[in-house]
């Protein structure tokens, strides 16, 4: 129907442009949320105008009281989101798709049997259920083959010659004879604990309790595998089809439930204080996954009091670092790491302790002796009067203050490429303030070398 025709029939009809990209994104978000039923979940690709999700529920159905109850749950939950959903469950994705789209019972969830019974169920469905390009289905209909059962009576060699091998494969898939791979929407994390809640959680306090319980179960779970987690992901499934994700990290692998609880609670608090934790109409499923795990053997307790104290103090520092990383964000809790680079500002790197274990760093003694304790982010230009051609500065002006140089040590020449070579001086002013200055450009090569302050407390 043309838009003009529609408007004539219903004057206040609501019109919106079609938005395939937005619909695709929404479907992906819905798939993410549908991971509450099974982690193997993916939107079906290559469909025009229809939207479908595949879930591999192998080993999941019993958690929801069987296949029929699970399908009913899906239909009810989707309906609560304002979606019209049809669900079917069969031996292969192809058969499930065909049944869900075209079997009338799929409105309430249809759990199909296997084998010949499945083929009997799929047989009367129209050929559109095969998920084939419209050209092929039109061709089949032109030949009078209107249902899957009718197509299946033909010889597969003839069908392949006429329509290509895709048709034969689609037929086998729809009749439950051939498997199909699903590309899941999110990484499958085997270490996973979920808490299904009878009543949706609406408060932060409740969330923290649930997070603590899930973290505790996760730690027991990891204990049975002799593993410790470096990172835990807290997924909060909202009732209204949104999944919130919070990530907590640790500088070392461990499975201490109290510590993980603290880290997760810090993340919840930081999120609530920052962007605001929008729980919508509540959270009815809390999930904790451990995406990064390491083998963690039991530790022998050290009976030597000194060694035990050192161990306890290292442990206390780790806990502090983890807690602060969770509260402030990983990038704000760092350690320095030495980099073998001659340009001063590139000789040090900040490593977030939650990301990886920094190497023990030591700078060459001779180099360290000439470096300041504070380094400016960016060297600041100064006006300096220096001995010509290549002496230390005698007077300089920085930030509108004049300094007279009383003592100087240098130069230390650092090559940064022709016109950018630097001559560094450690200087002390007549008041006893120490700076680290450099001249950019070597005398003789540059007419008017520029001077910069690069550090203080030299």
């Amino acid at each position: 129907m043309m838009l003009a025709g529609a408007k004539a029939l219903v004057p206040d009809v609501c019109v919106a442009d079609s938005d395939p990209v937005g619909e695709g994104e929404d479907l992906t978000a819905l798939a993410r949320w549908a991971m509450r039923w099974s982690p193997y979940c993916a939107p079906v690709k290559g469909l025009e105008g229809t939207h479908a999700l595949f879930l591999d529920i192998t080993g999941c159905a019993h958690l929801f009281g069987g296949e029929a109850a699970m399908l009913a749950d899906m239909v009810i939950k989707m309906r609560a989101l304002g979606l019209t959903a049809r669900a079917a469950c069969a031996a292969t994705p192809g058969a499930a798709f065909a049944l869900a789209r075209f079997a009338p019972e799929a409105r309430h969830g249809l759990s199909a049997p296997d084998g010949a019974a499945l083929r009997a169920l799929v047989g009367p469905l129209p050929v559109e259920a095969l998920r084939l390009p419209s050209g092929t289905t039109t061709g089949l209909r032109a030949l009078g083959l209107k249902t899957i059962g009718q197509v299946a009576t033909q010889s597969s060699a003839a069908l392949a010659r006429r329509f290509g091998i895709d048709l034969v494969r689609a037929l086998d898939r729809a009749r439950g004879l051939e498997e199909e791979a699903i590309d899941p929407v999110a990484e499958i994390i085997p270490r996973r604990i979920r808490l299904r809640l009878a009543e949706p959680l609406m408060t932060r306090h409740g969330l923290e309790l649930a997070g603590a319980k899930a973290a505790g179960e996760m730690c027991t779970f990891l204990d049975s595998y002799n593993e410790g987690a470096r990172r835990l992901v807290l997924n909060l499934y909202r009732v209204d089809g949104v999944v919130l994700q919070l990530v907590g990290g640790s500088g070392r692998a461990h499975r201490d439930a109290v510590l993980w609880t603290k880290v997760l609670c810090e993340r919840i608090e930081a999120e609530a204080n920052g962007a605001g934790l929008d729980l919508g109409f509540g959270v009815d499923l809390v999930e904790v996954c451990a995406p990064v795990v390491e083998v963690l053997e039991g530790q022998v307790m050290d009976l030597d009091p000194v060694a035990a104290a050192a161990l306890a103090s290292a442990d206390a520092l780790h806990r502090l670092a983890d807690r602060l990383s969770a509260r402030l964000g990983a990038g704000r809790v760092t350690r320095m790491e030495a980099v073998a680079h001659w340009v001063p500002e590139q000789a040090v790197r900040q490593v977030a302790v939650a990301d990886r274990r920094p190497q023990v760093s030591h700078f060459p003694e001779a180099l360290a002796a000439r470096r300041p304790a504070l380094l400016l982010e960016r060297a600041e230009p100064i006006d300096a009067i220096a001995e010509v051609p290549d002496g230390p500065p005698r007077l300089f002006r920085w930030r509108a203050l004049a300094f007279k140089v009383a003592c100087a040590e240098g130069p230390e020449r650092i090559a940064c490429g022709e016109a950018h070579d630097r001559d560094y001086y450690r200087i002390e002013t007549s008041e006893g303030r120490r700076f680290w200055l450099y001249r950019q450009g070597l005398p003789g090569k540059v007419d008017h070398p520029k001077w910069y302050v690069h550090g203080s407390a030299a």
Binding site: L320, L328, A368, E409, A457
Partner: protein, 256 residues
């Protein structure tokens, strides 16, 4: 000191500590300063380090690291440095960031430093309290921005946390940061010209870094007094230089 005053001080201290264990000290190495501080920097307490002028802010940090080098040498554990980064990256954009090689020169091993950048004043206070409460750290260094002044209650909480864990907490304040009321001592640091090393060049070489420390107030009742201090990079020790009479004369410019 009059005896009744001493008795009163003891009485007040007894009320203040409420039976908590008496504080131990970390000697800085400069004898007269240690004597005035009652043995050294307080373990289980906050010591305030304040620059005398804006341009002395690097010097106050320099001095704080000189003290912490001693702490790292004598105590196990790591050093936690907490910056108030509410003004931007690093310890205020005015002076930039802590630089590993320079700290190593002072005797502070860079791999024993945990750097924490608090995004705001509230976070800075919470982190400092948390770190002060942690057992087994060699020291905690707080770098406050100008607006990071503590409320009376907040400062007291940090102090109590430090007492509990026997931590050494140095609070390096900005020039205009309000005072940390319950601090065990308040040390005002000013730069002082070093004793130059004659090298035969037009400008003499740099001697050991020198500061003038003014003990503005101390909980043990020491009267305000000043000390000249120097730091030896080679032995990593803080000391009082020889008195003025014994100082080497200022090198004269050699006439051609």
């Amino acid at each position: 000191m009059r005896p009744d005053l001493t008795a009163l001080r003891t009485q007040i201290q007894a009320i203040e500590t409420e039976g908590r264990p008496t504080l131990s000290c970390l000697p800085t190495g400069a004898d007269r300063l240690d004597a005035a501080l009652g043995g050294g920097l307080a373990l289980g307490g906050v010591t305030e380090v304040v620059p005398a002028a804006f341009m002395d802010e690097p010097a106050s940090l320099h001095f704080a690291f000189a003290c912490l080098a001693k702490a790292l040498h004598q105590r196990s554990g790591d050093l936690v440095v907490i910056e108030d980064a509410s003004r931007g990256q690093g310890w205020g954009p005015a002076w930039g960031q802590l630089y590993g090689p320079g700290l190593q020169k002072l005797g502070v091993c860079p791999s024993r430093i945990l750097l924490v950048r608090a995004p705001d004043v509230k976070g800075f206070h919470a982190c400092l309290e948390d770190a002060a409460r942690t057992f087994g750290l060699a020291g905690v260094l707080a770098l406050s921005g100008p607006k990071a002044g503590f409320s009376l209650a907040g400062a007291r909480r940090v102090q109590l946390a430090a007492e509990q864990a026997h931590s050494l907490v140095l609070a390096v304040q900005g020039l205009r940061t309000s005072a940390f009321a319950p601090a065990r001592a308040r040390l005002v640091i000013a730069s002082r010209p070093c004793r130059p090393v004659p090298l035969g060049t037009a400008l003499p070489g740099l001697g050991p870094p020198a500061w003038r420390l003014h003990l503005e107030r101390a909980r043990n009742g020491a009267r305000p007094q000043s000390f000249d201090l120097e730091y030896d990079d080679a032995t990593h020790s803080l000391y009082q230089p020889a008195t003025l009479a014994n100082r080497s004369p200022q090198p004269q410019r050699l006439s051609a």
